[in-house]
Point group: C2
Chain length 409, copies 2
């Protein structure tokens, strides 16, 4: 397995484009439409927001992934979420797919649609249609084209996010590349995140689906920016088979290799999203180890990573371990507080802060140095079993408030 340059255009047969059509009012210079295209039909697997309030494109994509024979293109806009827009919004979403299909000469139900941005506004269809018209001739299989697509799906993200890996499967080079965007409303179970992964692997739809469902549990569903689960979250993998490996139809060694590479791609993208949470200055990683079950480890890790008080302390580089013990305590998991050990770790070093539920005589100065790095890990050793889980989030900052006190203007 090898990390390579690129994103959604890394795998064979995939091209992409990204450009600005003016959907983001008053934000000139920011791209706002992207397209991904495969020269041949793809199998698709996806997970979507668990929010009862689902945006029109989420409803559209759920149907496409479930019922269409194949998928061949993805069209995305940022700036307007097309959520809470009623039947009019649903019709606009259909038109977006339709225009893309017509331009690419493929079936309408082979087009996935994604939107992200302000809730409650209708899509500016004149701009959207113009955008689709302009995107199609720009589709290229270059690294630059993939990067432009990754930039075009951003909202409050500060950096674009893409990654690609190569892995040898059945004597063939298989490539998996992806891009995603955050960065507010990010919370376990799909949250204003859009993630698109393209791969040239040859795999049955059943196994592709199974691999995706298993993987998101440990990656995208373990990140949180603010506990808000959005109306638009979408993660899709499309696979076109052009790598030429023998089709994977059972959970053999090839399948294991694929899932391992997929996990690398998704872990990278998920961590990038968490670390680029709105206003964040640090990636905050929470590892719970030696828990009595996987489920409890997940619940404990998520409880700490979503605690506003802990997140504010991380921003202040303050080793406020009491808040971490407190957040473990209200997670709903039963445990003996007097068995818990806590550590802080970063590139600077590692320090034990709590032993058996009480503070060690650690140096506050050393702790602050550890907490001043850009990636900070809190490790909670429950000393009560053999299961572990890792969750990712970010610190809570003035800028989070600033960004969200007036996001719409």
């Amino acid at each position: 397995m090898k990390k390579i340059d690129g994103g959604v255009t890394a795998a064979k047969g995939f091209s992409a484009a990204g450009l600005e059509v003016g959907i983001k009012n008053g934000h000139t210079g920011k791209k706002d439409m992207a397209m991904v295209y495969s020269s041949v039909p793809c199998k698709a697997a996806a997970t979507f927001t668990t929010n009862v309030v689902k945006a029109a494109p989420v409803k559209w994509d759920m149907k496409v992934v479930d019922e269409s024979r194949y998928v061949q293109a993805i069209v995305v806009n940022s700036g307007v979420a097309n959520a809470c827009t009623g039947s009019e919004g649903m019709e606009y979403c259909r038109q977006m797919a339709c225009a893309t299909a017509k331009g690419l000469n493929i079936d309408e139900d082979a087009v996935l649609v994604a939107s992200t941005g302000v809730i409650g506004r209708q899509l500016p269809m004149d701009k959207i249609n113009k955008g689709i018209e302009l995107l199609i001739p720009e589709l290229k299989d270059t690294l630059e084209a993939g990067t432009m697509a990754a930039e075009a799906i951003m909202t409050t993200d500060t950096v674009s996010k893409q990654i690609a890996y190569e892995v040898q499967i059945g004597g063939k080079t298989v490539t998996i590349g992806g891009m995603c965007k955050g960065s507010g409303m990010i919370h376990p179970n799909m949250c204003t995140m859009l993630g698109f992964v393209t791969t040239d692997i040859n795999i049955s739809k059943e196994l592709l689906t199974e691999a995706v469902k298993a993987d998101v549990k440990d990656t995208y569903n373990m990140i949180s920016v603010d506990g808000d689960t959005s109306t638009n979250d979408t993660f899709v993998v499309i696979a076109n088979g052009l790598a030429g490996n023998e089709e994977i139809t059972e959970k053999n060694e090839d399948y294991e290799l694929f899932t391992k590479a997929l996990k690398e791609v998704n872990t990278y993208l998920a961590k990038k999203m968490a670390g680029d949470g709105e206003g964040a200055t640090a990636l905050f990683e929470v590892k719970v180890v030696n828990a009595p079950s996987k489920e409890e480890a997940v619940t404990l890790a998520k409880s700490v990573v979503t605690s506003s008080l802990t997140k504010a302390a991380i921003y202040g580089h303050d080793a406020n371990w009491g808040r971490i013990l407190c957040a473990l305590g209200y997670s709903g998991v039963e445990f003996d507080p007097e068995k818990v050990d806590l550590y802080f770790e970063s590139a600077y070093g590692k320090l034990q802060i709590v032993k058996d539920g009480r503070a060690t005589d650690y140096s506050e100065e050393e702790a602050t140095k550890i907490l001043s790095e850009e990636e900070v890990t809190a490790i909670a050793d429950m000393n009560a079993g053999n299961f572990e889980a890792t969750a990712w989030g970010c610190d809570l900052t003035y800028d989070y408030v600033k960004i969200n006190a007036d996001y719409r203007s």
Copy 2:
């Protein structure tokens, strides 16, 4: 039922005191110890934090309320929470009760203890013991003495919180008075809140307990500042019977009158805590009406009141109704988004923002005016039943981050 001046000293037979003994390092001029005393034994009912990590005084009080024959005093310190302090902390808590009992010439197990402040530090017992010695001769039944006690239990609160009501029961004047403190780590199910209510009503312990359990569901458990449930939350009612009414031993009219007055007291204190949440500039009230069940109404209201994105929008006076619909949507309650109506209301006026899940053509300017008041209400009409619930919280501000990025120093 009549609102009167005062707090914990309003009811017959209760005295209180509050003073500074220097527990809050570097915060001279801030009181940090309080005592409440009844001239005769009281019945006690209480609810405590649901956090697995319980502070020493919470463990002590649970035992006292469950097992002691009577309660006659409450001793409180702010500045240090005596949480995550092991057996040493438990012993210090016992010593605090013991010194109070000795000074007042009552039984050790008739003393309730409460602590609030930094987690993980041991109590400075020299200061605590000195404080108890100084508090006892200061105990007075005056309004001023009650106010000083209410001030002494504050941590990051900006104002002290107390209230009292009189109600006629069985031909006698019954008084109920209380004080409480917030203001971070405040979330449904008891959260660094301390609340103490004193009353001279004559009521059986069983019915007092039942009244308290029922009441907190609609009051203290419906407020949230930041979603963090603390290690120290305590709400206690003590009743000394001095009003002289016939003992209430069944759910008769007298009981109804008492629970109604208790609800007034606790709703006032709960709302005050929410509105004085750390860094808050506004009280944010969320009413969910016409829900299919009480439980669902509660879940929906709490989901909105705890949404960081919604709270930041309230701070920005931004009618970002999409975030409210979104927070309803991820609450876990099933509903039809296209049936939901939303309104904003405040002293300025009331405005319908959403009808059938979509924006009305409301005036953003009017909405901003409504949202610029100090108390702001969002009303979500689910149009799906006859149940309602109200939750209280506050906006999310720069100052919340500031206060919590470095609370310990």
